[in-house]
Each structure stands twice: as C-alpha cells, then as structure tokens.
C-alpha cells in the first residue's frame, strides 16, 4: 500500500509517503527522526493483516510542513534523516 500522510493547504502539498509493501517495520525511521514523526504498529488501513508497518503519527499529520521544516535540506543541510535511514527505500517526501 502507498500511504500518503500529510495534507495540502493553500500554501502547498506536504505529504510523507510510505510504501508499506517495502516497509519491514524495522523502526529505523522512528529512531532517525528528531521530532517523533514516525511510529510502527499494525497497519490501521489494512485491518485484516497482522503485519506491522511504519506510519506518521496522528498528532503530526496535520503539521508536517512545520515539524519537518528544520530538517528540510537548504543550502547547508544534509539530506532528510528519515529518508536516509530507511534501507528499504520506503519513505519519500512530496516537498
């Protein structure tokens, strides 16, 4: 499943996409994110499956533009820690 967490508002599109078919629930993203954006648990959108996958926490879904702001690559910043941490290549940002 391609899970898009985030939103679109007047200022733009802000989505973190997790490919749950690639995700193995390793929690690397959970420890890599300095702001607690990720968590791992049962896939709430696939209630008949027992696999655990990464997701963006409920509290963060409506403000990732702001929460992720400090990590966003600008002139002198490294790439996003969550994207770098994921060995399965399951995480991407839309902005």
């Amino acid at each position: 499943m391609i899970a898009n967490y985030g939103y679109k508002d007047g200022s733009g599109d802000y989505f973190i996409t997790i490919d749950t078919d690639k995700c193995n629930g390793c929690r690397d993203c959970v420890s890599a994110c300095p702001h607690g954006v990720f968590d791992v648990g049962p896939d709430e959108n696939d209630p008949l499956s027992d696999d655990e996958v990464a997701f963006v926490t409920e509290e963060e879904r409506k403000k990732i533009k702001y929460t992720c702001g400090p990590c966003k690559p600008t002139s002198d910043r490294p790439p996003l820690p969550c994207v770098t941490a994921c060995k399965q290549d399951a995480i991407s940002h839309s902005w």
Partner: protein, 288 residues
C-alpha cells in the same frame, strides 16, 4: 426511501430492505461517526438490510446510538441482536456498542467496493471535514491513499461557509451553480478564509449569487483534482460522502478528470458505515 426535510442543512435519510427477514441470520453493523454526519448500516448475512444517515450531535456516543436506533426503527431488531459492530470515522473510538474501530480509509474502500462493484479502483470521499482519495483492488483492499483533513478547502465545511455567506441552502448549491450562462473563472484563493473575502468582493462587483457559487464549485473541483493527481485516477471512479450529492462540484470534477463518475442508488454518505459493517462480518467470521 423516506426522508426527513431540513431546509437549512443537508437531507437526512434512512432505508430498510423490505425483502429481507433477518431472523436466524448473522447481524453485523457498522457505525460511521463523522464530524458532521453519522451513519449506521446493518447487514443480515452480509447483505444490506437497513441504514440511516443523520447529523452528528454534540457528542460521539449519543450520535452513534441515535444512528443505530434510527436504522433499526422499522425492524424488530435490538442492539442485542447485533453480533458484531465496527466503528469508523472521526468518532470511531467512541461507539459504545462496538467491538472494534477501523479507519475511514479502509472502510470507504471496502464500502465503495460493495456499493459500486469490484471494478471500482478509485474512490474519492468528500466529507464534512476531510477529503480522501483511495485506490483499491477488486476486493476493496486499499492500495494507495491520501487524506486531507488539515485544511477546510475542498470539504463540506468549506461549502457550509459559502452557504452561510450567500444565504443558500447547502442542498441547492450544486444546481444553482450550474444555472449560469457562461462558466466564470474559478475563485483564485484556495484557503476558505481568503476565498470568502474574494467572494465578498465579487458580490460587491455585482456578481449574482449563482455566478459566485459557480466560481466556488469550480475552484473546489480544481482543488480536488490536484489532490487526486497525487495518486492518479484509475477507472472505475466513484465518489462517496456528502459532496457527492453536490452536482455543481461533481459535474465540474467529471469534466476535469475526464472519466465518468459512477452513480449509485444508495445514499453516498453510507460508504464508510457499510465498509465497517462488512469488516464486522469478516471479523466475526474469522472469530476475531
């Protein structure tokens, strides 16, 4: 289909299948407590038996109870007869008689699959305070989704702001907006607050109400289109939720998407509750 008339708000509805005798059958139910509306769906051996669709009250547990009671009104059913209930929607964890809560995304895919048939691949749910774009497979399992519940633009709440501003019943907005000789340019602000200011300016310029509504419905259709583009639209395409009843948004969206939008005889607002009731059946069968 019996309907309660509410001139100032959208129309509530309920329905019972007269051809079904529920006795001796497995009864499961799904209750969708949304921010604006609540629905209850009752299945007998997995077949749609009864449903209700009404306004959400001041608290979720009461709204869930009211919805299920209204759905059971013409039946001899009581809560004790229901073997398994799944709650969904914004207030899903506050359905007192439920055994499990499941997200609206999963329930809308499952319910949409049942309502529109196994060929449906894209379901757009336009609710009171959110908008969801979902891809599903032939079994109604989610394969891709996106939900926007952060911003009022493109939601029923945004439409309500315009109904208030222009003094028009929310039920009439769609048809009124189509009653224009020429399609005006869409309202340029996405944000509902700014769109309202913009609309006030248009009214001052002498635009008639229906032209302003046309400009807003068209802006809303474009906005939803850009949201859909993120996951893409695959045939067949169906819309659920309250805004599915707004012809002004739906017909403009159909034009933008370029794919015909499927229609249904069911109330489009029950998709989530229907999916929940189907999950209730599946979970009961699995003994979970």
């Amino acid at each position: 289909m019996t309907e309660k008339k509410e001139l100032w708000r959208w129309t509530e509805s309920r329905w019972t299948n007269p051809d079904i005798d529920w006795k001796g059958k497995l009864i499961t139910s799904g209750v969708d407590v949304g921010s604006v509306s609540s629905q209850a769906v009752i299945l007998a051996d997995g077949e749609l038996y009864a449903y209700s669709n009404m306004r959400t009250g001041s608290n979720s547990p009461d709204s869930a109870i009211n919805a299920i009671n209204w759905a059971m009104e013409d039946t001899a059913l009581t809560l004790e007869d229901i073997a398994y209930t799944v709650g969904t929607g914004y207030g899903r964890v506050n359905v007192p008689f439920s055994q499990r809560a499941i997200t609206e995304i999963a329930c809308h895919a499952r319910g949409g699959n049942h309502m529109y048939g196994p060929t449906v691949r894209t379901i757009l749910d336009m609710g009171g305070q959110d908008c969801k774009a979902i891809h599903c497979d032939e079994k109604g399992k989610v394969t891709n989704f996106l939900m926007n519940d952060k911003c009022a633009a493109g939601t029923g709440r945004g439409m309500e702001v315009f109904a208030d501003l222009l003094g028009v019943s929310i039920n009439d907005i769609g048809d009124l907006s189509l009653d224009v000789e020429e399609e005006p340019p869409p309202v340029s602000s996405t944000c509902v607050v700014y769109a309202k200011t913009e609309a006030t300016g248009l009214l001052r310029e002498g635009w008639p109400t229906n032209k302003v509504l046309a400009a807003y419905c068209s802006a809303m259709a474009h906005r939803i289109m850009t949201l859909l583009e993120r996951i893409g639209v695959e045939k067949d395409f169906a819309i659920t939720g309250g805004i599915a009843k707004n012809s002004g948004v739906v017909s403009r969206l159909e034009k933008d998407v370029g794919i015909p939008i499927m229609t249904t005889d069911y109330d489009t607002q029950i998709a989530g509750a229907l999916g929940a009731a189907l999950f209730a059946k599946a979970l009961k069968d699995k003994g979970k």
